[in-house]
Amino acid sequence: MERFTPLLWAIARGHGLPAAAAVDVTHTAWLRLVESLDDAPADAIGEWVSAIARAESLHALRWVDPRPDRRGDGGDRLRNALEQLPARCRLTLRVLAVSPPPDRNVLAAVLDATPDQAEAFAADCLQRLAESLADTAST
């Protein structure tokens, strides 16, 4: 079960929540999962709990000041390129980078999209990141 914690954390932080709120969201998703283990679909627990983390993150954004998902001190080329992207792309890329990598169904739950849409969107975001990196390199 602990393998989901990095994923849930990435979803909460990827929505721009500050650390304290992201802890609460991850914790809540966890508790809801544990209480619902008998009801959650056994072969789709990752999607199920990701959808909860997404919903709880969106709720939390109603009363918490969102902050840019800025990690570390910034300054390197990858971070700068990421910050040029829209929030939904940053969320997607953040979740893509979780280890172990989320499957397409989990990505779909995070984005509230179909797996095909989620995959296409993720590919588009990687493309935009590559272009943003190329732009940064050429200036």
């Binding site: 802890v23 508790l31 209480e35 619902s36 283990l37 009363w63 980078a97």
Partner: protein
């Protein structure tokens, strides 16, 4: 863009991840199992002013949120007031008679109160975070157990 370029970029993104989950969260995740309530149907809110009214809390100021949970036998109406990190619950259990309320909060603490003769209660000194409540109405031999709600 070739597929291997994407793989490289994903690997680069993974390598820059310098915001791992806090260690305390991993400990809390393990502890979550000890909170498990077996063989109980958990109640989701049937009304939540935060979601149903589209209210946005005024940041940094006192704000309140109304929640309603209901089963066929028991209903629980709660107003959650937030003041910074602190939370206060004011509510009423229906049927309106003495009952016992247990509040689990923050994923690590539990607090019990008895309602007055009309089923009313106040719980103070809670902290923001996951919250779950159970109320037992002895005269009806019935109870209501809520799912976790982040307040």
């Amino acid at each position: 863009m070739p597929a291997d370029g994407r793989t490289d970029l994903t690997a680069e993104l993974r390598a820059m991840d310098d915001d791992p989950p806090p260690a305390a969260l991993l400990a809390a995740a393990r502890a979550a199992f000890s909170w498990r309530t077996l063989d109980t149907d958990l109640c989701r809110p049937s009304y939540d002013s935060l979601l149903d009214e589209g209210l946005t809390a005024v940041r940094g100021e006192q704000s309140s949120r109304l929640l309603r949970f209901a089963t066929a036998d028991v209903a629980l109406d709660v107003e959650v007031t937030a003041d910074g990190d602190g939370r206060t619950l004011v509510g009423q259990v229906t049927p309106a008679e003495p009952s016992d309320l247990t509040v689990r909060h923050g994923g690590a603490d539990e607090m019990s109160v008895s309602t007055d003769t009309l089923g009313r209660f106040v719980v103070e000194g809670l902290r923001g975070g996951p919250l779950s409540m159970r109320c037992v109405v002895p005269s009806q031999n019935s109870s209501l157990f809520t799912d976790w709600v982040l307040v």
